[in-house]
Subunit: 212 residues, 2 copies
Amino acid sequence: MTQTDTKIRLLDAAESLFSQQGFTSASLRAITTAAQANLAAANYHFGGKEALLSAVLERRLLPLNQQRSDRIDQVLAAATTAGTRPEVEALIRAFIEPTFAFRRDKNGSSEFISIIGRAMTSADPLVRDLFLALVQPLFSQLHQALCQALPQLTPQLIFTRLFFTMGAMGHCICFPGMSQIFNGNSASNPEDDIFMTNNLIRFVTAGLEAPC
Amino acid sequence: MTQTDTKIRLLDAAESLFSQQGFTSASLRAITTAAQANLAAANYHFGGKEALLSAVLERRLLPLNQQRSDRIDQVLAAATTAGTRPEVEALIRAFIEPTFAFRRDKNGSSEFISIIGRAMTSADPLVRDLFLALVQPLFSQLHQALCQALPQLTPQLIFTRLFFTMGAMGHCICFPGMSQIFNGNSASNPEDDIFMTNNLIRFVTAGLEAPC
DNA sequence: GTCTATACGATGATAGAC
DNA sequence: GTCTATCATCGTATAGAC
């Protein structure tokens, strides 16, 4: 097996186990065993457990953030062309929809976003900062766009409400099978996820647009 | 020292360290050392690390839930007397305000609620269920009250939006010093907490009241 | 360069002496 | 009730095989 194979198998195994058991509880022994690699392979290829998490996060989050950033830019460009202000719901949809669509992808990354949901509120500052550094540019971009959409609100208030939005969203993505309970289904269903996504978008849009 | 003293000192030390480092990362050795007790004392008095967390949660959460439950009942009683429907904002305020007021109390429990913020989304089902079992009655009570306040919405949709509310709130209580950054203050300030609390109440009230 | 085997200190937990 | 001794397991580091 080549180096690339081992690295990818380690990333896949780590992603799955971090998602199921959490960062602290998932042991390097369990991860390397699942990846059919030696215990020391994780340290050799990534440098440590923390660096392995960082690689797991970057692999999925960088493309996802690019996708969300592009969609926000599209909304802004369309508003500029039309000579109007961008709509809050369109901006929020650009931010939230790709995140949940990730879960329905067939490329084996369905478990990933529960990791970032927990990294966001981790008690470990190293884990938290790992995530925050990766989303900070996107967060700033969205904040700036929302300031254009909501000129009657102060940037500070929009920042606060964006923080609440991150919380509501983070809670939803912590549990891969959560969306189905909203419909009382026993088995997971792509429609449950879409139902939850649309309701979340409506909820936070109303919260962001609330009068001051 | 009496048994009671040791138990309380263990609870205090566990509360502080669980809050600062998280449940998994806070070691029993650090907790018992901080409590000036033997390593085995935690196992003797509580039965294990998980049971210690359970005791930490119950000590603060049962009185807090009683307080929140009473305030919800007061809102419902006042509405009945006035012959009107209860207001969403009043119900949400009854639920959220005591939670954040907890943080400003001087009895050394200021660190506590960050524990429940993380227990809510813990990857460990045992930890999560510990918290869920403690708040389930209160959650049902609030859901039922909101169904009275929002008769135009289905109970299922209200449940979904209450889930988002828990997420936004849980995110806020994960970080003891988070509220101050909204005002750009360098030092923590009770007014920052009140500012954040009021903005959170306005945000989730607007989200809950959003048209279907 | 890649990978394996192995050792080290620290952890949660428990049994049994006192 | 309290404490010591002990065990399996954790993340990490390193020496050496291929």
